[in-house]
């Protein structure tokens, strides 16, 4: 198998799980339980994306990563927005790495 064939194969196996669910049901036909289940997905996805992966955001430095995320949470809570928390977290991370933490 050439690399290009492999890439096409990879495209198919990643694409299908992303597309098939769109045709699996009609929103208005969903029973309330499933509708509630799908509505909770974004929260649980975010939780599971942040932990534990976020603690390795800055590779091999869980404490520094954790402090960066706490800074992001602090800014998001008191000032809101997305760019602010992200820039805050990255800058604090930069300073801490620079200081050799």
């Amino acid at each position: 198998m050439s690399n290009k064939t492999l890439i096409i194969g990879m495209m198919l196996v990643t694409m299908l799980p992303r597309i098939i669910p769109f045709y699996a049901f009609k929103t208005e036909d969903l029973p309330p339980f499933l509708r509630a289940f799908l509505n909770y997905i974004p929260y649980t996805v975010l939780g599971a994306l942040i932990l534990p992966g976020g603690l390795n955001g800055i590779e091999g430095k869980p404490l520094v990563s954790g402090i960066c995320l706490a800074i992001a949470a602090f800014i998001a809570w008191f000032k809101g927005g997305i760019i602010g928390p992200v820039i805050g977290a990255v800058s604090v991370g930069l300073v801490m790495i620079y200081m050799g933490l």
């Binding site: 690399n3 992303r18 996805v45």
Partner: protein, 229 residues
């Protein structure tokens, strides 16, 4: 709505670019051609599994194993697509393949935290903006090699996680359910990831499905209790 989609995508674009650059650099050092490297980012478009695939190609691992690993790693998007689908009422079904193809953890997270996403122009401009950043980053990384100082690349590693935090916090301020179930998912996922025979994508899927089920179950119980009163 196109403008709004682009605007909401900017933090993701900023986070994607350096990671995609790192991918371009890895592809080059692994001996993958520039066309194949960019094809990975534009055809497959699947973050972590691209890194894995390139390392596996370089290590001479069989294509079938690479395909299987890629499938298992990205199967989690199945749940995210279903969740997005449940919020679409007016978007014509002919657009579904596009919305699905461009879906990522990040575009899903950004879109899901918005009130009204039942709009194709909004979704596709959000998603394609992220996609372009990923593709250009790959090309740029491949062509230039290391461009940003290493310390900046390292610090940027936390950017997308900070994005997830910033997306989650407003929801937590509004509802105690968001903070409860997101924390529960984070804790369970952390716990499951410690188990050696469960892969990280496996623990992610188990966590998201079980905690969401639990949440929906409690929600139903609450509804029935109110009904009885």
């Amino acid at each position: 709505m196109i403008k709004k989609g682009f605007k909401d995508a900017t933090p993701v674009m900023a986070g994607y670019f350096p990671i995609a650059m790192a991918f371009g650099i890895l592809a080059k050092t692994a001996g993958v051609s520039i066309v194949e490297g960019v094809m990975m980012s534009t055809f497959v478009y699947a973050g972590a599994s691209q890194f894995m695939a390139v390392s596996m190609i370089a290590a001479g691992i069989s294509p079938i194993s690479i395909l299987l690993a890629t499938f298992l790693m990205n199967f989690r998007h199945f749940i995210m697509s279903a969740s997005i689908r449940a919020k679409l009422n007016t978007v014509p079904s002919k657009y579904f393949p596009l919305i699905g193809f461009f879906l990522t953890d990040e575009s899903f997270s950004v879109a899901s935290m918005k009130e009204d996403i039942d709009d194709f122009n909004y979704l596709i401009s959000l998603e394609v903006s992220c996609y372009i950043s990923w593709g250009l980053g790959t090309l740029f990384g491949y062509l230039t090699g290391m461009f940003f100082p290493a310390i900046l690349i390292t610090a940027m590693g936390v950017a997308l996680y900070a994005l997830f935090v910033a997306l989650l916090i407003p929801a937590c301020k509004k509802s105690s359910e968001a903070i409860l179930y997101a924390s529960l998912a984070g804790i369970i996922n952390t716990f499951l990831s410690q188990i050696p025979w469960i892969s990280s994508s496996g623990s992610f899927a188990i966590t998201v499905i079980s905690v969401s089920m639990f949440a929906a179950y409690l929600n139903q119980m609450k509804g029935e209790a109110q009904y009885e009163q």
